[in-house]
Symmetry: C4
Subunit: 377 residues, 4 copies
Amino acid sequence: MTMTNGYEQSDREEKLAILNLPSLEEKAKEIIPTGGFGYITEGSEYEWTLKENTKAFDHVQIIPRVLTSVENPSTETQLLDINLSMPIIAAPVAAQGLAHARGELATAQGMAKAGTIMSQSTYGNATIEEIAKEGNGAPQFFQLYMSKDWEINKTWLDEAVNSGVKAIVMTVDSMLGGYREADIINNFQFPIPMGNLEKLSAGDSKGKGIAEIYAAAAQVILPSDVKKVAEYTGLPVFVKGIQSPEDAEIAIEAGAAGIWVSNHGGRQLNGGPASFDVLKAISDKVNKRVPIVFDSGVRRGSHVFKALANGADIVAIGRPILYGLALGGAQGAQSVVEHLNHELKIVMQLAGTQTVEDIKKAKLIRQNPINDSLSEN
Amino acid sequence: MTMTNGYEQSDREEKLAILNLPSLEEKAKEIIPTGGFGYITEGSEYEWTLKENTKAFDHVQIIPRVLTSVENPSTETQLLDINLSMPIIAAPVAAQGLAHARGELATAQGMAKAGTIMSQSTYGNATIEEIAKEGNGAPQFFQLYMSKDWEINKTWLDEAVNSGVKAIVMTVDSMLGGYREADIINNFQFPIPMGNLEKLSAGDSKGKGIAEIYAAAAQVILPSDVKKVAEYTGLPVFVKGIQSPEDAEIAIEAGAAGIWVSNHGGRQLNGGPASFDVLKAISDKVNKRVPIVFDSGVRRGSHVFKALANGADIVAIGRPILYGLALGGAQGAQSVVEHLNHELKIVMQLAGTQTVEDIKKAKLIRQNPINDSLSEN
Amino acid sequence: MTMTNGYEQSDREEKLAILNLPSLEEKAKEIIPTGGFGYITEGSEYEWTLKENTKAFDHVQIIPRVLTSVENPSTETQLLDINLSMPIIAAPVAAQGLAHARGELATAQGMAKAGTIMSQSTYGNATIEEIAKEGNGAPQFFQLYMSKDWEINKTWLDEAVNSGVKAIVMTVDSMLGGYREADIINNFQFPIPMGNLEKLSAGDSKGKGIAEIYAAAAQVILPSDVKKVAEYTGLPVFVKGIQSPEDAEIAIEAGAAGIWVSNHGGRQLNGGPASFDVLKAISDKVNKRVPIVFDSGVRRGSHVFKALANGADIVAIGRPILYGLALGGAQGAQSVVEHLNHELKIVMQLAGTQTVEDIKKAKLIRQNPINDSLSEN
Amino acid sequence: MTMTNGYEQSDREEKLAILNLPSLEEKAKEIIPTGGFGYITEGSEYEWTLKENTKAFDHVQIIPRVLTSVENPSTETQLLDINLSMPIIAAPVAAQGLAHARGELATAQGMAKAGTIMSQSTYGNATIEEIAKEGNGAPQFFQLYMSKDWEINKTWLDEAVNSGVKAIVMTVDSMLGGYREADIINNFQFPIPMGNLEKLSAGDSKGKGIAEIYAAAAQVILPSDVKKVAEYTGLPVFVKGIQSPEDAEIAIEAGAAGIWVSNHGGRQLNGGPASFDVLKAISDKVNKRVPIVFDSGVRRGSHVFKALANGADIVAIGRPILYGLALGGAQGAQSVVEHLNHELKIVMQLAGTQTVEDIKKAKLIRQNPINDSLSEN
């Protein structure tokens, strides 16, 4: 363990033999200090949406298909011309130093080794440049929490562009933080500085809680801001936090090059639907005009399959990667996405889908409470 | 603590740091004596309706909205030309001396400080005049349990009018009490006199249980009684205890100036629907002819939002205020409504609603078990 | 306690202060020996239908009605020209000596005092004559388990007619017993002789289990048997064990003067629907041509109300009366039905129904998972 | 107990007094070593489908029928001209030596005594010939896991034909194993050789896990393979692992003489529907062109009835037979199917069905959440 500002960080670096992603949480609990663990795991209010996010996958079922020619299914896919070994990427998660001494640097290394995308967070514990360098050319996204100050935004975006990130991910669902109780109970404040904030006159982020951090960010983000960021960077911009077809349409009209369906892992609006439950309606509206990344609640290979079958092009995971970080550093994070992809391959074979594109054409069914017909999802 | 007629009353007076309203119940349990706590918390029969009242909010979901111009949402609103700082008021609750030595006086003070309405109960431990004086001009309602004797009703109503209450709330769902088991188990009888009963030849209320108190009240309340009270006082009359569109119509035709949708916190008819589940149908029928106050089961900011989106103009809470009273007197009660309003503001921002009027236009959705379309609520 | 053939029977005789019917089971468990208690409480197979019987009442809700002229609701009603103080009667239950030394004699006394009907069972521990005498003119039914031997049937039916029973109840759902596990685990055999079997050359019933008793009874009961019994006795015949509109029609065409909707308290076919869930469809088919008695799962006043609103004319209860027997003899049994009726009266007032006939016109609603309209049940 | 390669096998041989099939699991747990017990009981991933398999029977209900002429219902039936004493057969289960020293030999003996079909597994611990000899003429099926090598398939099929098996069962849902966690936790490898693999140059199966065994089998099975096996053997071929009408159609067109609806006991694709929930749609599509065997989740007589009423001609059980094996050898296995059939007979009587053909005509109902009409299943 490494001690930083009184906060104990794991410094493990090892491959993990993972049984499944849910089981990592209790193991990580023994390593990550209470305040950091609370921040990572919590949802908002009474966490209905957090729990529903994962339960919702049980609303629909995958049909086992047989007598197909499927053999050794391939999980290779593309997102915005980026070749990926799997349809699973890292979601942007702030303050990864809470889980590991090397934080985002380890995650970047792990995702690079896994052959997939690392998403940086504005509120990471290292800077954009540092994390990009660690990726050594592997594809990364930069998730922007817009600052009130456009000059600050430009500084970050310039660094992102120069560092070679492939896309900007604009988080638009966090004008303020959801009502998160673990942080209140733990009186949690970030123990480790956030690199991108440190290097600006925006000042020191150590000793602040997430509410204060959000309050210092832009309090309003409009469609015109999406356009502005897209034009300024010349990069594709994903709008992250979409939970309705209406907002997907607004984002696309504003110039979004991708829709990121997410309810921020149940950490923002409690009382909103499970992210998986709104995915298909959004996908129908988007109608393949732009790619869709989906997150919130994904824990199993069958969940990844269901999301891809219901309209997602790519699935992102958040908390489990942090648990892998704590338990094994870069290799730990790598083990997590590789395990999930391993589970996905099994599902693909048993569902009769050879490729990720085949998954997207697969029909899900819903146990129909009214009659026995296999109603399509 | 203060001892009155052998009953131990809290005499705390302090601001509360509230994590959430549900957690107050177990803390209050340590302070409020068993008999009083049982009376406050109980529902009727096997408490299906009591539990369903709060569970029902999970039947529908709020859509997180993004890329809006919403910033610092305002919870200010109006009810009958009364300006309120929040769309949350105190529901009438009898015998608040069970929770605190200053009972209704403290609640009145707390609501006044919070900038919202205190609802007096006929069966309060202080008189109408005393409670109004404590409010010092802040808006109050007087909830009437009609007496068999019109003279007695006039005495109370005169005092209410002269004390400056803004509206009369006629409770019509309690011709007798629901089958409440805690009172039976505890052999509960009110230890502290009820001021409005004391001052009449109706006699002493100390040592009676709620069944006896109700039995001494009017056994029948007809639409003509609503009209009578409205005409006599010249004040707006809310009819409280409406759970069907038919009864809302009857009340309006009888002269009601407001509909109070409530099932008395699950204390009356067990086996009736959750109050939230009947709200929209009633609201559709009322069709904005008169304002709607909604209570029964509200505990979180997302619940308040859902009620307002489903047709309520104002939301009232009962038990949590009593818990706040016990834990902190006037400031305790004030802390409770302010906390709930704080949670509401977070929901408002994340749902993209700038004002209470915006909430009323927001569409809720229902997870549809048949297909993935986002069906409107 | 009284010891009979090594089986310990309660001999209490006292009024009971009953909190509710469900709570009687665990109290009775302390008094009734294991084998007898298992026989009384068990359902069949994995007891899904047994549990669903009571849960099903939560599928529909009663609408609280206000501003009505209802006052002191009356539970008086009639069944086949018999005046009853309540729409609640005793269901036929075998071997009541398992619960109390005076068994059926005490129940008969208790129902007579309560002003309602006692239903005798062919497999009672006293004879038809003895039980009728105890009722001292109060109305009784005689439930017939047809014997293979018509002569035996005639003996019983003659005794029933001569004893003045008001109707014959033919149980048709027990050609053999459901798969009841408690009896197997307890290796249960009836410890106390059954009077109606003892007095025949059909021999001794002591030391037999229910399977053997049923095996000695008629193995087939046809519509023509209903007609035969009706013609032979000249009495109204209820057919008990109906769970489908088709069978109700068959029974009526066969001459049934009443339909007894029941799944034998979940003791027969596990995997069948809750009795309450099939009631309305049967009632619609019967269309008031004959009265309907309903049993299986009723435990609360709101349950009685829901059954009457959904088509039943009368509700019968079984196990709770046995618990009341064990705890207080005749007065105990009387206390049970009187308590249930007391709960019913409260529901009636709060639902705005003055009489039992009003309950039958009341509309129930169902929380609709698809939309918010108050769909009628 | 018998020790084989360090694995402790039961060697009991006794009739069992069975209360019900579910209760056998915990008793068997005390006898079967951890690794073997885990292999037998496990499902895949988070075992949603495994649990749903049995829960799904509660989605529909059997209507109790009365006043019928049904007496001593008969469970005799036929499958492919084979006379059976019951509509229940043994599903193919690999490595039965995990449960008992005599493994498949004991099961074959038990099923022969019970008058029903034993299904051999390619991965049994005895050879095709040995198991057939033990059956002594009683009907057996041979379930084929196709080898990559057609010569090996021919060797097995020749032995099957020469041993007099009545049908080939081709398992098509296991191109690889589902993600089974117990095997991973236990690091499970088969301790006892598989006879049919041993005798080939395909080599030794001891010390391998199921993943390796499956990986050595054919990785693709096409409709043409079904035709090939049917033509080569001249025997009826069942295609096992069908969970959709589309695949049933494909199998029939490929020459299948029977459809085996199964999700491999929830061990393959987790996230797929309960097998019972897809049965009726498949049966409607098959439209009696070929017989349907159904498995996955059957544990009670009411489950067997529901499967037969929803389109199955025969029901197969897997794990419970293994538990019976462990607890009582051949007689134990026999006791299991006989007990299940005993429960079925009770259900048949109470449902008014005299024969298995009558069950197939019985209508199931579904508790309708929208209204009270008895909607047909």
